[in-house]
C-alpha cells in the first residue's frame, strides 16, 4: 500500500486560522497584563458557557449543510422557554429543565420550517439560514413584544412592560444564575494558574453531548448524514432520503442550540430579550472556525480549541488595545472586526477550494478525453 505523503503546505493552509489566533493571543496576553489565574478562570467559565452552543453546529456540517446560521432560531426558542419559566417562578435547575422542555416543540417547529426552506435552496444553505434568522427574529419580536402579556399570559410586572403587554428589554434570571455551574462545587489548584473554579456539572453535560455526537456519527442516521454531506446524488442513489436527512440534521441542531442558549443564559444571569440571540450564531460560528473547522469539516476538537482561542482573544484584546493605543475601544472594535473577518476568510477559503477542486476535476476529465481521442 502506498503511504500518503504529508503535505506541509496543505496542513499549514488548514491550520492558518488557529495559528493566526495563537500569534494574536501570544502578542496580546503580555500586553493585557492579566494574571494567569484570571485568564484561566475566564476561559473555563466561557468554555462552560459557550461549548454546548458551538457543539450544536456540528451536525449540519456533517450533513453537508455548512455553518448553521439558523441556530439563532433555537436560541430564540430557548429564550421563550426561559421567559415562561421565569414568569411561572420555576427557579434553579428545575427552571432550566422546564425551559429546555418548553423550547423543544418550538425548536422542532422552527427546525422543520428551516430544514424545508433549506432543501429548496440547496448549495446556498448558509446565506438562506442567515436571512431566515432575520425573518424569524421578526416573528420572535411579534410574539415577545406584542403577544406575551396580551395573548400569552404573563403575570409578573418585573417581566412585563409597564404598558401591560410585551417583555422588558432585560429579564432577570437571578434565581437561575449559575445554578447549573455551581451544582457541584469544584475547584482545582494548579502550580502556575492558582485556584481555578470549574463549572463541573456544565462540563459533565458538555462531555455527555460530545459522547452523544461521537455515538450519533456511528448510527444509521449519522452515516446517512455523512453520505448526504459527501455527495447528495450518490446518497440518493444509495436509497437515502436526502431531504428528510437534511431536515433531521437542522431540527437536531436547532433543538441543541435552544438547550445551549439556556445553558449560556443561566451563566450570564439575565436575558437581553431582543438582542441576546441575534449575535450568538455569528460568534459561535466564528469560534468554531477559529478552532480550525471549515464549512464542510468540523470536529469536537475544533469546538474546544475555538472556544479557548476565540475567547482568549475576546478577553485580552480590549486591555491590549488600551495598552497599545490608550483607548480600550480599539481593542473592542478589533475583536468584533476579527470575528467577522474570520468568518469571511473561512467562506472565501471554502469557495476557493471548491472552485479549485472543480477545475482540477475538469482538467482530469479533459485529459481523460484527450487520452481516449
Amino acid at each position: 500500500m502506498k503511504k500518503k505523503k504529508f503535505d506541509f503546505r496543505a496542513a499549514l493552509r488548514r491550520s492558518s486560522v488557529p495559528l493566526m489566533f495563537i500569534i494574536i493571543c501570544a502578542i496580546c496576553i503580555p500586553l493585557s497584563g492579566l494574571s494567569a489565574n484570571m485568564l484561566a478562570n475566564e476561559i473555563v467559565t466561557r468554555m462552560g458557557r459557550n461549548a454546548f452552543l458551538i457543539l450544536s453546529l456540528l451536525i449540519p456540517i456533517m450533513a453537508g449543510m455548512g455553518l448553521n446560521f439558523g441556530m439563532t432560531l433555537g436560541a430564540m426558542a430557548g429564550q421563550i422557554g426561559l421567559i415562561l419559566a421565569s414568569d411561572w417562578q420555576i427557579v434553579g435547575v428545575p427552571g432550566m429543565v422546564l425551559a429546555m422542555i418548553l423550547s423543544i416543540p418550538i425548536s422542532v417547529l422552527l427546525g422543520l420550517f428551516c430544514g424545508k426552506i433549506l432543501n429548496m435552496a440547496k448549495g446556498r444553505e448558509m446565506i438562506t439560514s442567515y436571512i431566515m434568522s432575520f425573518f424569524i427574529n421578526g416573528v420572535y419580536q411579534l410574539v415577545v413584544l406584542y403577544m406575551m402579556g396580551s395573548v400569552i399570559p404573563i403575570k409578573h410586572t418585573s417581566i412585563k412592560l409597564p404598558r401591560g403587554y410585551g417583555i422588558r428589554n432585560t429579564v432577570s434570571l437571578l434565581n437561575m444564575r449559575q445554578k447549573l455551574d455551581n451544582l457541584i462545587p469544584f475547584s482545582v489548584k494548579l502550580p502556575f494558574f492558582g485556584e481555578i473554579r470549574i463549572p463541573l456539572m456544565t462540563f459533565i453535560i458538555i462531555a455527555l453531548m460530545c459522547l452523544v455526537i461521537v455515538w450519533f456519527r456511528r448510527t444509521k442516521l449519522g452515516q446517512d448524514m455523512r453520505a448526504v454531506g459527501q455527495d447528495m446524488e450518490v446518497a440518493r442513489d444509495a436509497g437515502i432520503n436526502v431531504e428528510r436527512t437534511r431536515i433531521v440534521a437542522i431540527v437536531i441542531s436547532t433543538v441543541l442550540a435552544g438547550f445551549g442558549m439556556i445553558i449560556y443564559l443561566q451563566n450570564m444571569g439575565n436575558i437581553a430579550t431582543y438582542s441576546s440571540h441575534s449575535q450568538i450564531g455569528m460568534f459561535c460560528i466564528a469560534a468554531l472556525l477559529v478552532g480550525g473547522a471549515s464549512v464542510d469539516k468540523a470536529s469536537i476538537g475544533n469546538v474546544f480549541l475555538g472556544v479557548i482561542l476565540f475567547h482568549l482573544m475576546f478577553i485580552v484584546a480590549p486591555r491590549a488595545g488600551a495598552a497599545i493605543t490608550g483607548d480600550s475601544m480599539i481593542g473592542e472594535y478589533f475583536r468584533v472586526f476579527v470575528s467577522y473577518a474570520v468568518i469571511t476568510v473561512a467562506l472565501v477559503m471554502y469557495e476557493t477550494n471548491k472552485r479549485r477542486a472543480k477545475s482540477a476535476e475538469g482538467k482530469k476529465l479533459a485529459e481523460a478525453q484527450k487520452g481516449e481521442g
Binding site: 434553579g92 429543565v97 438582542s275
Partner: protein, 157 residues
C-alpha cells in the same frame, strides 16, 4: 413498525410532560419574608416581637431580626424548614427552635410572622401573602443593554 414508532413517540412525549410536571412542583420558587413584628389577630390576641431572632436556612444565617424587623430568603419547592435562634429578652439566653412548613404553591411571596408562629397561632394568622407595591412607571422601558460583550455599540448592523 409504524405502530411501534407511534408508541415510542407517545411514550417520549409522556416522559417529557412528566418531567415538566415534576419540575413545576420541585422548582417552584418562593420568597419568604420573616417578620419579627407585633401582630394583632382577629380574635384580639396580640403577639409581641422577640428581642432578637436569628434565622438559619440550610445551616446558613439568612436574617438577624431585631424588634419590628423583617428579613427574607428565596426558596424552592413547597417544603420549607428553618432553624430559629430566639433571644426573648435583652439578657435572656438563646433558645433554638426548628420549624417545618408547607408553603402554598400559588403564593410567590409569603410573610411569616415569627412571634405568632412560635406561639402556636393558626396558619392563617402567622402566614400572609406578600403583595408587592405597584410602582407607577413612566416611559416605555429602560434601555439596559445586557449580555455578553458580543454586542458592540455599532448601531443596528
Amino acid at each position: 413498525m409504524k405502530v411501534r414508532k407511534i408508541v415510542f413517540r407517545i411514550l417520549a412525549l409522556a416522559i417529557l410532560i412528566g418531567i415538566a410536571a415534576v419540575m413545576f412542583v420541585i422548582g417552584r420558587g418562593h420568597t419568604i419574608y420573616f417578620d419579627n413584628k407585633t401582630l394583632e389577630a382577629e380574635d384580639g390576641t396580640v403577639y409581641k416581637p422577640y428581642y432578637k431572632i436569628d434565622v438559619l436556612v440550610n445551616g446558613e444565617k439568612v436574617a438577624k431580626l431585631g424588634e419590628e424587623d423583617r428579613g427574607m430568603v428565596s426558596t424552592m419547592g413547597q417544603k420549607f424548614s428553618m432553624e430559629l435562634h430566639i433571644t426573648p429578652k435583652k439578657d435572656s439566653k438563646k433558645v433554638g427552635s426548628a420549624v417545618k412548613l408547607e408553603i402554598p404553591y400559588n403564593m410567590d411571596g409569603i410573610i411569616l410572622n415569627l412571634p405568632a408562629l412560635l406561639n402556636g397561632a393558626a396558619e392563617d394568622v402567622y402566614m400572609d401573602e406578600f403583595i408587592p407595591a405597584v410602582v407607577e412607571e413612566t416611559g416605555d422601558e429602560e434601555e439596559v443593554p445586557a449580555g455578553d460583550e458580543f454586542e458592540m455599540p455599532m448601531g443596528d448592523a
